[in-house]
Subunit: 236 residues, 2 copies
Amino acid sequence: MHFVSFLGSPRNQAFRQSELDRMGVVHLNTDAMNELKPRTRIQQKNINAILEAALDVFSQYGFRGSTLDQIAQAAGLSKPNLLYYFPSKEAIHTTVLSGLLDNWLDPLREMDEAGEPIAEIMAYVRRKLEMSRDFPRESRLFANEILQGAPRMMEALEGELKELVDEKAEVIRHWVADGRVAPVDPYHLIFSIWALTQHYADFDVQVHAVLGKTDDSHFADAEVYLETLFTKLLTP
Amino acid sequence: MHFVSFLGSPRNQAFRQSELDRMGVVHLNTDAMNELKPRTRIQQKNINAILEAALDVFSQYGFRGSTLDQIAQAAGLSKPNLLYYFPSKEAIHTTVLSGLLDNWLDPLREMDEAGEPIAEIMAYVRRKLEMSRDFPRESRLFANEILQGAPRMMEALEGELKELVDEKAEVIRHWVADGRVAPVDPYHLIFSIWALTQHYADFDVQVHAVLGKTDDSHFADAEVYLETLFTKLLTP
DNA sequence: TGTCGGTTTTACCAATTGGTCAGAAACACG
DNA sequence: CGTGTTTCTGACCAATTGGTAAAACCGACA
């Protein structure tokens, strides 16, 4: 089944019956994305507009707090037109989420066991901080989903995410055992990297309010601060 | 005007007209709380039940994603009965938020310029971590509000919060200048304390999913980890 | 016993919500 | 140009939403 098969009114019945249950949960593979390969230029454009708008809205208000009207308006389309491209609000949300998760884990995946330990970890921190600066909506969408108990992502958290973290925690454990990194709990190290970097995206308005700034210049300071912090923490 | 004056149907008209505008924004003083001093045991009980239920629901779904029905059910009351005690959904939310904010800032207020710098900062970290463990809903409510752009808290953020942080940042700056604390950006130090401690409340389900745990035993590990981290960072 | 405040429920309302559907409009292409 | 397909719209729907009004309930107390 590919994309066009759930476009249009009569055709998407089949989609609704057979696929929606699966859509209820985010998959980390690219099934969903393959199905969404657009056929025409107009589909390309509108689907992009919808997902972009959905990211805007969902990342601010979460799933329950967002409405199709909001998304439609932000996308510059009518509500029925949204539902021509996606069978339901749920499906839009799921598509946005699953498109996000892969990218979100990439920086950690790139951490290389063969590299110089501290440099590898610092590079990971820098990549995560860059993502917070360049993709704050994605970070907030993720935060919103977790805050609400991750109803549509639990599987991914306990599956792919846990596996990746377990794997990288093991790598760090080895680095510690070899005396190349000061002794730290690898899991809490990873948590702290997430917390420290994502904070600048998720709590953006608070950071701006406290600093009394309107620009993003504090990201440079943050980078320096985090560099100091992790260097002191990790140097044996 | 005190509490009973906006209970009941005919009486709360006046309240709606004159007070609702003020209720639209959280005040850090205790005006709202004074007005909510209950008169009878039954008011005491029901108002507590409502605020407790509201904390549950709002902290999970945010303001827009929460419904009066959800809150009513969680409180074991009927929806019209909720609206006998509070004039609107907005008023419930505002009351919960303003009740929260004072407590939330207390740990930072307690940081004493006259004390031993590193011990003071470590004690602050410990208090914040304890709050994440003991009041995770409050932390999530706060996170939800910030994520949504802090529409009902911006004033407090730019006012009381900023003032307190500015004051304490100055204290830290002095400690640094006196060589009692290693050179750090005071603002980012405070941000990092918030991020690291609140992460364990806000991203609770993620932490549990990754660690494969069902209890809260990781808080002890977190405390050790954070102790190491900040000791290394701050020791001159 | 009556009655009077405080409390709760039943019935209701208008607006908004996610979603449907028939057909109109726009487009692609021979 | 005509015709088949894709895209879009307006009118609609049932359910849910925040909120209201009036009447019923309830315990205390004269």
